[in-house]
């Protein structure tokens, strides 16, 4: 089954009614209601209640709604998971993820799902790999819960943990991007790239997004609605890619009808990986509403 399209995942501060109630019209594939970094210690309770009620009453127009909770290692995080599970978000995003935190989150969600008579496994998990430990142990973290559908790379905290400078070029996170994307592909889940911090540099954003995509990322987090369309441009199949994929599929069907096992298109032999790539392009284009 093709996973949900997550080209863009837009962070929304969790204690702002104005931003929460408009989040569904910002064109992002997913929105992340943030009760962690975007909310001060003294307002965690307020944001939690606001998100709980918003999940039950606000129309997000079919957009995936993810909640970034506080770390399950804290009392805030435990309460976030307990209270908010009952309002059925599509997923929880877990900061500073470790195997222990993911197991704990899974247990709390499972209990809450039972209590609220929600189908077990409905609520997904998206760990954030933002420590050297998480990057090195991402496979074990993924294996800690069947709820995990994607991993977000968090480069700001990661580079702080590594005691290195975060740059616009992002060469310092090449290793983390490669490792996260490769392991996520191995487990058939999505790798979401770190946000681009300069919200006024659109060229830089596009360059950074393409760089992540070329390293195997499946989508990118955004911290401003203005970043969404640029991210979509990079992660959506281009008209040329779609046309080529359609022609490959048609050539394959023609070859099958003629009883040919091997065939060529535009002078190039077409084999299984090229067909798989073409099929993926078509599926992505359909999910993105381009086809």
């Amino acid at each position: 089954m093709m996973p949900r399209l997550r080209r863009s995942m837009l962070f929304i501060p969790g204690n702002s009614p104005n931003m929460i109630q408009n989040a569904g019209v910002l064109n992002a594939d997913s929105i992340i209601l943030d009760v962690e970094d975007a909310v001060s210690i003294g307002e965690k309770d307020s944001a939690r209640n606001l998100i709980k009620n918003a999940l039950m009453q606000v129309n997000f127009y079919g957009c995936e709604v993810v909640v970034r909770v506080n770390s399950p290692s804290t009392a805030f995080g435990m309460k976030d998971l307990r209270v908010l599970s009952q309002s059925k978000p599509d997923a929880f995003m877990i900061p500073m993820a470790t195997e222990k935190d993911i197991i704990k989150a899974d247990q709390i969600i499972t209990e809450a799902e039972k209590k609220a008579e929600i189908k077990e496994g409905h609520i997904k998990l998206i760990p954030i790999a933002e420590t050297a430990y998480a990057v090195e142990n991402i496979a074990a973290i993924i294996k800690s819960s069947n709820r995990i559908e994607a991993v977000l790379l968090g480069a700001e905290d990661l580079t702080a943990d590594l005691e290195i400078t975060r740059t616009k070029d992002g060469d310092e996170i090449n290793y983390a991007r490669n490792k996260i994307s490769n392991i996520c592909k191995a487990y058939r889940i999505q790798a979401i790239d770190t946000p681009y911090a300069d919200v006024n540099d659109y060229d830089g954003l596009l360059k950074d997004t393409i760089k992540g995509k070329n390293l195997g990322m499946s989508g990118k987090a955004a911290i401003n609605p203005r970043q969404v369309d640029i991210i979509h441009t990079a992660y959506s199949p281009s008209p040329e890619e779609i046309e080529y994929a359609q022609n490959v599929i048609k050539a394959m069907e023609d070859a099958k009808a003629e009883g040919k096992g091997v065939f060529s298109y535009e002078g190039k032999m077409i084999d299984a990986p090229i067909i798989l790539r073409a099929e993926t392009v078509i599926k992505k284009a359909k999910l993105a509403g381009i086809l």
């Binding site: 009614p17 109630q21 307020s46 209640n49 606001l50 918003a54 606000v58």
Partner: protein, 93 residues
């Protein structure tokens, strides 16, 4: 339940509502509402505040509400938070 301690929640930003609750010297629930849209939605805002308080079994409280165009879910959330804060004995950690 009776509110014996003052507490507040919310902001004066657009689409939000600022709620302050305090002990009421009189019996029952008293609501003082200020809103830019009081003529159109005053009744509805009062109803949501009252419903939320009743659901939380609060029988005696004074509420001062300054509305900036909040939708029902935001009003409910801010009232819930203010009540929880008034009833809590300790800070979250």
């Amino acid at each position: 339940m009776i509110i014996t301690k003052a507490a507040r929640a919310g902001t004066l930003e657009s689409s939000d509502i600022f709620i302050m609750i305090m002990p009421n010297t009189e019996d029952g629930i008293e609501i003082q509402l200020e809103s830019l849209v009081i003529k159109q939605f005053g009744e509805q805002i009062r109803r949501v505040i009252m419903d939320t308080l009743q659901r939380m079994e609060i029988k005696k409280v004074k509420v001062i509400a300054n509305d900036r165009g909040a939708l029902d879910y935001a009003i409910r959330s801010r009232v819930e938070t203010a009540v929880q804060r008034a009833l809590s004995n300790e800070e979250e950690s």
